[in-house]
Amino acid sequence: MSTLTLSKAINSGLRRAMDDDPKVVLLGEDIGKLGGVFRVTDGLQKDFGAHRVIDTPLAEAGIIGTAVGLAYRGYRPVCEIQFDGFIYPGFDQIVSQVAKLHYRTRGAVKMPITIRVPFGGGIGAVEHHSESPEAYFAHTAGLRVISCSNPQDAHLMIRQAIACDDPVLFFEPKRRYWTKADVDESLALDSFPMGSARIAAAGTDATLVAYGPLVQTALDAATAAADEGISLEVIDLRSLSPIDFDTVEASVRRTGRLVVTHEAQQSFGIGAEIAASITERCFYHLEAAPERVTGFDVPYPPAKLEEHYLPDLDRILDAVDRVMGRPNSLSGQGL
């Protein structure tokens, strides 16, 4: 057991995957000598060599497109996209090629590519450095999409992603990179299945679903709600495609209430998918309409405004009040 930050936990997961399989190669901008702008790949080029940790030319379509070729040749490429907002030059390769080659070749060619993306806001960054583009990829058949929220999961999930024979988008909560926790690096890779959600806090009154950076916020909300006598069950989705609906449904059947939160814009997002599916699955168990607490449907605003844009404790608790039928900001009864 060692105490690691989330970024170091991913680093140790990458290291382990590279030790275990010589076909694992890393590609990205500034990932070699510099060790990545968030130091997630720190020391890996020194230890594994420049043929396995490749400082690429500055071209995202090139990074993803060459990863396709490497995968074709039997490698397991792990691509780093430097920031969420810079994935789009590689978007065509991801949705039209990475996602479809296994399908088009009727299984003859696998695409075991992992695409690591630091995502989300809350670090006061300039534009294009705080975005949450996960829904675009979850919307694309052929891609798996996962997001870690804590060091232990981060370590195992990056290894699961690399071991997976399908392409995996791995979203790293950049504002939690410096969160520290104990990590057991000896845990078996299948300690939990890659697509499974986790009950991060058990509760009885309402189910609060989060992933990535907002899991901690959701846990804080549960603590605050407990002070008011409300028991929240917090679910860390971990996987966005597929979504572990069984776990969410079982929880909602118990609590009767659902709140979903994510930083990404609300419309056509993960929250919409969960609200719709859970409504279909257990409509008669719902005591209230599901609530979504998300970013607004506007471009990510300048950093000085992000505290209003990002779901926070107040907005989550306000939504909890709504599903609980308690006075809330919109009920006209004051808070």
Partner: protein
Amino acid sequence: MAAAHLPTTEFDQTDLDGSLEAAAEMAQGEPEAPMVQLLDAEGRRREDPTFGPYATDLDGEALKAFYRDMASVRRFDQEATALQRQGELALWVQLTGQEAAQIGSGRATAPQDYIFPTYREHGVALTRGVDMSELLKLFRGVANGGWDPTATNFHLYTLVLAAQVPHAVGYAMGIQRDQKMDAALAPAATVAYFGDGASSEGDVHESMVFAASYKAPVVFFCQNNHWAISVPFEVQSRIPLSNRAQGYGFPGIRVDGNDVIAVHAVTKWALERARAGEGPVLIEAFTYRLGAHTTADDPTKYRHSAEEDAWRAKDPLLRLEKYLRSEGLADDAFFAEVAEEGKQLAAYVRKATLEMANPDIRSAFANVYAQAHPLVEEETAWFEKYEAGFTDAEGENA
């Protein structure tokens, strides 16, 4: 097939592990391709049969004005860096070392030309008359742009690398069409700025193909400052970038990017050509990023200080100062005056930055669409109600 036609390089890609190290060591600043230079590092004038004539109209006053601009923007850069260190800016992108490339090219543009910068072009902004304090809004996190680009024909900074390059080509195609409709229109061109790193993006390739096909009046101005964060130039290109132009079918010129006179002459030539309908030019300004990539970066992790020292000796300001002094064009009084002006600019920018009001969150809902949109209206209304809920609650508690 003559081997001489093939590019040669010491950067050996067959040695996968040693290649990056070798590449980094090569960034010592000796250009391996012909490079236009009109003022050398010692401050001596050089002859050039093609571009020399484009510098003959530069008298003492013009050269002093170049110096003034370069010194002002360097001082501005230092102030912005200080503001970042003091927590007033989230980030700053330094331009130090690239003043000649930016002032020389910017001063060659005409008011009707349109400029598409990346994010480090503070010197070009100065030449376009942008209020320098407005450049800081993006980096303070109070705006996603900061200025009205149409007021100075200087587009907003674009942080997504290379994305602005096709915009410059499209704008130039618009100029061509306008000229067809109105022959009296003043000839104009566009300038697309981008870095050596950004040159690898597909957008740059596509831009050059379009520009060549339509002979668009665009000047591609690449500041090769040798680094893309930690990645040395040789990872982006094994040959001088200017050589690429030939493959697209237009001229490419490598110019000493620390020589403001040469940069000005070459850009002037290229812009005149473009405005006259002769098509695009690629200019590679051979320069160096003396500072860190941004205030968040630590270059000691990936490059040697000896390399920085070698480039410091080629400082664009020093060489022009040497020339102005040796020719008796400027004296101590001039340099003292310039320093004073720089101080004033710095003081102005500092004051304006500290006075920048935080925007209201309601502004985040404005301008998402040009026409009314029900979703935005609904969310704005929701937010108003939500905020009011808090005020009511506070009122109750009071």
